[in-house]
Amino acid sequence: MLKRRSDVYSVEIYGTKDLQKTEIEDEEEKHKDQKGNKKKKKAEDLKKELDLDDHRLSTSELEMKYGTSIDKGLSSARAAEILARDGPNALTPPKATPEIVKFLKQMIGGFSILLWIGAGFSWISFGIQLAQGVDSAFDNLYLGVVLALVVILTGIFAYYQEAKSTNIMASFSKMIPQQALVLRDAEKKELPADQLVVGDIVEIKGGDRIPADIRLIFTQGCKVDNSSLTGESEPQSRSCDFTHENPLETRNIAFYSTTCVEGTATGIVINTGDRTIIGRIASLASGVGNEKTPIAIEIEHFVYLVAGVAISIGVLFFIISVSMRYKILDSIIFLIGIIVANVPEGLLATVTVSLSLTAKRMAKKNCLVKNLEAVETLGSTSIICSDKTGTLTQNRMTVAHLWFDNQIYSADTSEDQTTQPFDQSSPTWTALSKIVTLCNRAEFRPGQENLPIMKRVVVGDASETALLKFSEVILGDVMSIRAQNTKVAEIPFNSTNKFQLSIHETDDPQDKRFLLVMKGAPERILERCSTIMINGKEEPLDSEKAEAFQTAYMELGGMGERVLGFCHLYLPENEFPETFQFDTDSMNFPTSNLCFVGLLSMIDPPRSTVPDAVSKCRSAGIKGAVVAVTGDGVNDSPALKKADIGIAMGIAGSDAAKNAADMVLLDDNFASIVTGVEEGRLIFDNLKKTIAYTLTKNIAELCPFLIYIIASIPMPIGTITILFIDLGTDIIPSVALAYEKAESDIMNRRPRNKRRDRLVNQQLAVYSYLQIGIMQSVGAFVTYFTVYAEQGFLPSTLLGVRVNWENNAINDFEDSYGQQWTHYQRMYLQWTGYTAFFVSITIQQVADLIIRKTRRNSIFRQGLFRNKVIWVGIFSQIGIALILTYGLGHVTALNFTPLRFQYWFVAVPFAILIWVYDEIRKLLIRRHPGSWWDKNMYY
């Protein structure tokens, strides 16, 4: 036995070492990459860490060294002094990616690179034209500068947004601080873990994160998961024994940031904050690379799609224009225009804003989103795995039934119980109540004597809390009863044993026997019993009585109640004298042939919101394969990590669970998940709408270039004008779509299929580009031709005029009526055309914005005025257009000119057409689900 143990032990040690080795080597490699001298520093750090000798000291030496007392802990005053000296128990955050790198990433990421190419081409053509002595060469210089400015400004905005959302995320993580159970001033207190100081006595139970480096002084089946420190995933047992010279390997030290997976332990804090082992190996604490979230993948897909379209159209028309005998230089300038028209410059910034708006909204509804893009993931959730405790229920265990003396008694489960009505005269009840009281680790937090018992805050898990309150209601001051029955040994509950045991001296001064009390899973308890107490008398446990037990157990379990069995044993005085030393590891006391006393069952009443939420989930088709997992225990954290989205409970959740989760439900309420699903779907829908809205006018910006190249008409819209649409009039409306309320069917749809249901699918692109976009182009061209015709250039005259039109030596260019125009007069007219085209796109984008409010429902069902922000968008759009046209109309560099009032209305019939057409589309989709129309027109 001993040999086997040592084998296991040595393997464990080697395993740890091996992993350490790889860690260290990894570290080294990293450092080699960065700076050679860091390696030296690290070696010194490791030396320092090995100076640690606390694991060799005895308990009393430790008390001396840290000026503390194991029974009383530090005094608050002393703790405050040390805190002032050492600082809070928190790691200095690891150095993040340098801001400049983040900034540069924004500058070249996504579409920016396309725009840089555009700017580069502009400068090249400026250089060539300047060498050729062309007058208008500087136009290209300015265009290049403007494009560069656009990239830099959107880059700065995106960077600012990211920094802001990082800050929001950081503040979220501060909202779920780690707590530690500390002994101070001889009282157990829950403190934020960063208030811990050296010398504090802390208690740890399964599920807790170790709040500091701790020298253990008392352990009970304690195992720790050192994976965050060593990468070793196998839990390692911890005891109070000094087992190894190396502090990293001795069993009596538990390290900061590792997790206690089971058992309990008490220890003295020996290092805090940056002086902990993990603090010294700071780089270990920095996070690992994140996997791409669905929305990130979708946006990348979208960027590729649009960039692909832009480049292929650009190259295609480059070839066309070269083969049409345009000069290479002109063809390059066309290419720039096509790129600028195709790239939705403002879109990525809009998406970021929409996501952070949603995260804020969700926080208001008690969902803390740790990972911004997880919001969307939730919307595509197809399975929710939930444990019922706490999430579906009120997480307030209450004793509902008792079974003793072969009889089931009902207890009062009401909110404000003060007494319990059942018959308490039986001596069996006296015995049972004693076990319930003593075999319980839960305690009331001090200073709540005036509160009703049911309202008091308890340190302990849910069922122990229920039992504590139950016995407090019936017996009165439980703490004094426990004090009179001094605890001499204890085995806390763990998942292998499935029981909890403690041994007490009795309060009867005549009775020198020890009392062993045990509670746990009823069948396990019964296995250990040979007798059963009936009416205060021990009777042998025959098959008939066991049958009665089974019946009662089944009945209580059948009601969905958590059943616990209770038994006890008075240890014979001769074998276990007063001085007997109990050892819980070797179990030098009997744990079988006990006396069964009774059963207690508890329920956790369901939350009132749950039935509704579950039915919503059902109709949302939540089954089938993005998996959301909810959980609170430490045992849930691997599942949370593995799930597509892990959801932890904010109140009941262990630190481990919260760390592993993507989202934290602050109110532990299942209904909040439904909110999350709804919000997740909503953000996906709204992003779709935003993108559809933004893409549409790209066609209206692109068509002019294509027709300009093919039909050689005067340029209908300028590159700078396009930028004013993309980054001016369109920005606020596209953000406004993020505020759009959900369509009525949002929770009746099937979850998004990650492979098929893309953010930007074929239908969306085709409908936006080839239908609405073309309509907009037609409307804008009508305005364009109207402006030229009313000034004397009839459409027929315009075809094919490009070369002469743009020739600045021709200053008597004849129009359709025989009038003659100078070059500048033509250019001014051309700018008026730009302005008219711009205004027409803006007017039709208002219609586009309105139709994008819904994808299936009629606008009138959705309500035109429910989303006020849309109206802010519409007014801002028109306001900006008015300012550009009339306010900046005299700044010729911007290519805007004042426009006759009536030209604002030329495209209105087309705007109305867009609206009517889209209503018809939606009507047909609703009327004929699954039809050819539905398949091709629903995006």
């Binding site: 350490q20 239908q771 004397g792 200053n811 009526y817």
Partner: protein, 317 residues
């Protein structure tokens, strides 16, 4: 100390490695196909592309069956036909509202711009007197331009008008309008009649200046618009004398207003000839000729052809 740990580990490591490999091998085999699925090879992509282009099983091309393609093409045919119809209809309605004789707005085309002849792709007139091939193109251009002003042509097509007043013709818009004669003989020394080289052969070039036509425009508001030339930049003594024809270099009022090319068919723009009789030789002389009169703008920085024109004379031996 670090080194010590590593050493220590190596000692144990040797024994350990074998064990580890054994454990890891089956794992690796399991992972390999997975990794392949994650990153597609080019062959896979090409295969997928092929299937996408033509899927023989489902008989689809680019993801659609023949029927589906037929439907979608039919839909877009109808859709775009309707749209084109609407576009044509809108333009038709818009054009209906326009008068065929007078554009609705003339605010962008006025006040008038100015051009010169000869015009050969630029505003530098450079030649050497002794080399006829350097000035012959200018002379040809002048003759070509003035062909429409031949006295015979003018007498045949146009009427004589009363000088000194606008020639306003009433009647409906669609009525044909009469045009006033502008005979090239009016240009005297610059008419090309006496001197078919327009003075170029003597180093005294003629340049014709014309004002842009604007429908209904009445230049000068009753006082004829006159032309004036000066050196634009540099030594003013380089331009010593200029003769103007006809008259003192004015555009007679009788040639205005212009009624548009459909009704004012034979209209010929009045001209002012500038005879540069004494210009510094062997120098680039930039000259600005500008219109003067009420309502004329000739100092706009952005438009150097509005009410003025700048050209360079460079006359060599």
């Amino acid at each position: 100390m670090e080194a010590a740990i590593i050493c220590n580990l190596r000692v144990h490591g040797q024994g350990e490695n074998k064990h580890e490999e054994k454990v890891q091998d089956p794992d690796r085999e399991k992972h390999e196909p997975k990794a392949d699925m994650g990153s597609k090879t080019w062959a896979d992509l090409a295969g997928e592309m092929k299937i996408f282009l033509w899927n023989p099983e489902e008989r689809t091309c680019l993801g659609r069956t023949a029927k589906s393609w037929g439907l979608i093409l039919l839909f877009y045919f109808i859709f775009y036909t309707c749209l084109a119809g609407m576009f044509a209809f809108c333009l038709y309605v818009m054009l209906l509202t326009l008068s065929p004789y007078t554009p609705r707005y003339r605010d962008r085309v006025s006040p008038p711009g100015v051009m010169i002849r000869p015009y050969l792709n630029g505003f530098t007139i450079a030649f050497n007197v002794s080399q006829p091939n350097t000035w012959q193109p200018y002379v040809d251009s002048m003759h070509h331009f003035l062909a429409a002003y031949d006295d015979k042509v003018q007498e045949e097509k146009n009427i004589e008008c009363v000088p000194g007043q606008y020639f306003i013709q009433g009647g409906s818009d669609s009525e044909e309008k009469k045009a006033c004669q502008f005979k090239r003989s009016l240009l005297q020394n610059c008419s090309g009649i006496q001197d078919p080289t327009f003075g170029y052969s003597r180093g005294q070039p003629c340049i014709l200046l014309k004002m842009n036509r604007i429908i209904g425009y009445r230049p000068g508001a009753g006082v004829p618009v006159s032309v004036e030339c000066k050196v634009q930049k540099g030594n003013e003594s380089h331009l010593r004398s200029v003769d103007f024809y006809p008259g003192n270099g004015t555009f007679d009022l009788m040639y205005y207003p212009y009624y548009g090319k459909f009704t004012h068919v034979n209209y010929t723009s009045p001209l002012v000839a500038m005879h540069f009789t004494d210009v510094q030789r062997n120098h680039l002389v930039p000259i600005q000729c500008s219109l003067h009169g009420k309502g004329i703008i000739n100092d706009l920085n952005s438009d150097r052809f509005l009410g003025r024109i700048i050209f360079t004379l460079s006359i060599g031996k």
